[in-house]
């Protein structure tokens, strides 16, 4: 293990001295650094440092955060899951601003800290020759230190020492490093070994301790039983003989008399075909779409008994009384309301009602289609014109 010279370091007692020293060093050398226990005002200009580039990272990360927040919220509220909130338009910029601000600040600060640690401080590069030296111990306590790297073009150990001495340094020392600590083919100044044994062990033990503590605290120390009221609330249990919701053992109440289900209209001409014929007016409009609907429904629900053309040629082979033809004079003279009534209520306890299968609109469409069938065999005069 051979030791090489890394730098020559000088320690000073007061901030004024270190500022004077760095001004003097800055005149002759380029590669040097200053260590102080706290930030010393005026140091940047004394060292001839240019202003840090870190601000641009902050700006870039901040703008990224802003963009993410704005585009995410715009996409969610206008495309993916539009919800009306307080009658505001889907794209409501004022409502987005607080979150945009939060994300801008969040990303800017996290991004700045991370880029500082990884790019400027070169993590995970954790070993440096000035670690574990007396110099380091002093500058992290009560002294102000400066060191000039052996790499510097003008470097001459004796001259640097003389310079420090002339500036009134309290202590002058050499900082050495091991050849082994150096990564291959790289500059001394830049890279030292990344995985120091102590560092890795330290890091691992921190991981173990922190996650162990977190597990213990969340799962044992502060454990709270989750709410279980969904298990114990009163409810209907399938197959159970009685429910304890109500005294009579029923789980639910009957609707109040006269309650009408949503979207349902009670039929007021049950068993009163004449009245239905007189009062019901066909509300539907005869259009190709409407007739197509009527044909579909007729073919499904009526044709098994009445035949596809309403001639009464049932496909049921006598299992059910054959209906009369829909082309009879009587049937042709039925008003729309009467046919609607027959579909809804059935006829003579022979033909059943179809109100459960066919909605109101469906029924009127079938009525219209029956009219089409009737006029296909018995056209009216006007049809021939």
């Amino acid at each position: 293990m051979s030791k090489n010279l890394f730098a020559v370091a000088g320690l000073f007692n007061t901030p004024d001295e270190i500022i004077k020293a760095s001004k003097a060093v800055n005149k002759q050398y380029k590669k040097f650094d200053v260590n102080t226990p706290y930030p010393v005002h005026g140091m940047d200009s004394a060292m001839g440092l240019k202003s840090s580039k870190l601000g641009y990272f902050a700006l870039a990360f901040g703008l990224t955060g802003m963009l993410i927040a704005l585009s995410l919220m715009t996409w969610v509220t206008t495309k993916e899951y539009p919800l009306v909130i307080g009658g505001k338009p889907f794209f409501s910029l004022p409502a987005f601003i607080p979150i945009t601000f939060e994300l801008t600040v969040l990303l800017a600060s996290i991004g700045t800290v991370l880029s500082m640690i990884f790019i400027f401080f070169k993590l995970p590069n954790n070993s440096h020759p000035i670690h574990d030296t007396n110099y380091m111990k002093s500058v992290s306590n009560d002294k102000y230190g400066i060191y000039v790297l052996a790499e510097d073009d003008n470097f001459d150990a004796e001259k640097v020492k003389a310079l420090f001495a002339s500036l009134g340094a309290a202590d002058i020392s050499e900082i050495l490093y091991n050849e082994d600590d150096l990564e291959e083919d790289v500059q001394v100044y830049q890279h030292f070994k990344i995985f120091d044994k102590k560092f890795v062990v330290g890091l691992l033990s921190i991981v173990v301790v922190v996650s162990g503590l977190a597990y213990y605290m969340l799962n044992k120390l502060f454990y709270m039983a989750p709410y279980n009221w969904m298990m114990t609330q009163s409810k209907v249990i399938p197959q159970a003989p009685v429910s304890d919701n109500f005294a009579d053992g029923f789980p639910m109440r009957n609707p109040v008399e006269g309650t009408v289900a949503k979207g349902f209209m009670p039929y007021e001409y049950k068993g009163k075909p004449e009245e239905a014929e007189k009062n019901l007016i066909n509300p539907s409009e005869v259009t190709p779409e409407n007739l197509a609907l009527g044909k579909i429904k007729f073919d499904i629900y009526c044709s098994p008994c009445h035949g596809y053309f309403g001639k009464g040629d049932s496909r049921l082979n006598g299992q059910f009384p054959n209906p009369p033809s829909l082309h009879s004079e009587k049937a042709r003279n039925f008003k729309d309301g009467r046919i609607f009534h027959i579909i809804t209520d059935g006829q003579n306890n022979v033909m059943p009602g179809y109100y459960k299968q066919l909605s109101r609109d469906d029924r009127w469409a079938v009525v219209n289609y029956v009219r089409v069938l009737q006029r296909s065999l018995n056209a009216k005069e006007e049809d021939l014109k």
């Binding site: 005026g42 200009s45 202003s51 601000g55 004022p94 601003i97």
Partner: protein
């Protein structure tokens, strides 16, 4: 490191007073013309003018108080500039006169029939002519008294170098702060918010304060930097000492945006008709452009100028930002006051002509002349202040 404070009293540049005179004469002519042609519109503008000159004087007075209270060191070399500027509070009452004379033309609540309005009737315990004037007088007295206390103590220190005077001023500024907050809110509510007496916003005083402080700070920045560039302030002041002025301006540009947006967001979200109509008035017709413009003039542009760290040290950019912020405050007051005028007189959209320029021109002129008069027999730096040496030694 410490050296003796090197300061010799020199008069401020002579052409400042000259320019101030020209602006004053020009402003007076415009003001006279506007009162002759449309006295109601001129009165609305006189309120704009009064609120603007209050911002200059009171903003400066506030910086003095806050420096003592916070024990700030960076602002000590500029404190005398702030003190001279704060003397503007002595002439503020003059600008209240048109508003008082033509009260019934601008303050709807001051009419006798306003009492038939249930809401105004309930507010009449506060909004009545007598109490209005009592409050105004009390507020002026508070400002003037504290102006004299602060400056007398500070000027005496130039000669005696007595540290006890600093201590005394610290105590007075602790007393001043709550009075400042209340008096500023009273003036903002009485003279601007009550122009539309049905409307209310609990953050109104804070909103006006943000503009006030920025205006005071901007005037101090411009004057202090210009004096220092001519070597009229103490030796050793430079970019490092400008930095905090810039940082403070930057902070309060954000503060203004924060307050303005909070007020807007809450009213926009709650969507209550009795609150939203105030913003709708400022959103109708060409007023909408003025509203959008406000965001840029008062926030976006100064924010971008002041964002980079070097800008906060660069005297050129600092002065530019300060000029923009002073303009922004006038713009802001115009946006607060004039839509009421157009609404009340059935004018569609915004109005802008020499009426709106008259008072700002007059006031800037008056303030320049006044600054020349008040600075005559005074040092431009508080040379007796114990913190001054520390402030000069400051480095970034």
């Amino acid at each position: 490191m410490s050296s003796k404070i090197e300061y010799t009293k020199q008069p401020i540049p002579a052409n400042w007073t000259k320019i101030g005179m020209i602006l004053t004469v020009l402003g007076l002519a415009l003001v006279g013309a506007s009162f002759a042609m449309d006295s109601t519109r001129a009165t609305f503008n006189s309120i704009l003018g009064m609120m603007f000159i209050i911002s200059i004087g009171l903003g400066a007075l506030f910086t003095i108080g806050i420096e003592y209270l916070a024990g700030a060191v960076w602002s000590t070399p500029y404190r005398r500039v702030a003190e001279i500027l704060a003397s503007v509070v002595l002439i503020v009452p003059i600008f209240a006169i048109p508003g008082l004379i033509k009260m019934h033309d601008v303050f709807h609540w001051s009419h006798a029939e306003a009492l038939q309005d249930a809401i105004l009737k309930n507010k009449s315990a506060y909004l009545n002519t007598t109490f209005f004037i009592v409050r105004m007088v009390a507020v002026f007295i508070i400002w003037i008294v504290f102006y004299f206390i602060f400056t007398k103590n500070s000027e005496k220190q130039d000669i005696t170098k007595d540290q006890k005077l600093t201590k005394r001023n610290i105590k007075f500024s602790a007393l001043f702060m709550p009075l400042f907050a209340i008096s500023l809110t009273i003036m903002a509510v009485d003279w601007m918010m009550s122009l539309e007496p049905h409307w209310f916003s609990t953050i109104y005083g804070v909103y006006y304060f943000a503009g006030t402080f920025l205006t005071g700070l901007s005037f101090i920045t411009i004057i202090a930097i210009s004096l220092n560039e001519r070597g009229l302030l103490v030796k050793g002041l430079g970019e490092d000492h400008y930095y905090s002025l810039g940082a403070m301006m930057f902070a309060f540009v954000n503060f203004w945006a924060y307050i303005a947006f909070s007020q807007y967001l809450l009213i926009w979200y709650a969507n209550l008709p009795e609150e939203t109509y105030w913003f709708i008035n400022r959103y109708e017709g060409s007023w909408a452009y003025v509203s959008y413009g406000l965001v840029f003039v008062h926030f976006v542009i100064p924010y971008i100028i002041l964002l980079p760290q070097p800008a906060k040290k660069d005297p050129k950019r600092l002065k530019l930002a300060a000029f923009i912020l002073i303009f922004a405050h006038i713009y802001d007051l115009y946006w607060l006051i004039m839509p009421t005028y157009t609404k009340q007189h059935g004018i569609e959209g915004m109005v802008f002509s020499f009426y709106e320029i008259a008072f700002p021109v007059l006031i800037i002129g008056v303030v320049m002349v006044w600054f020349g008069i008040m600075s005559k027999n005074k040092n431009l730096v508080p040379i007796g202040d114990p913190k001054l040496q520390q402030a000069i030694d400051f480095h970034l």
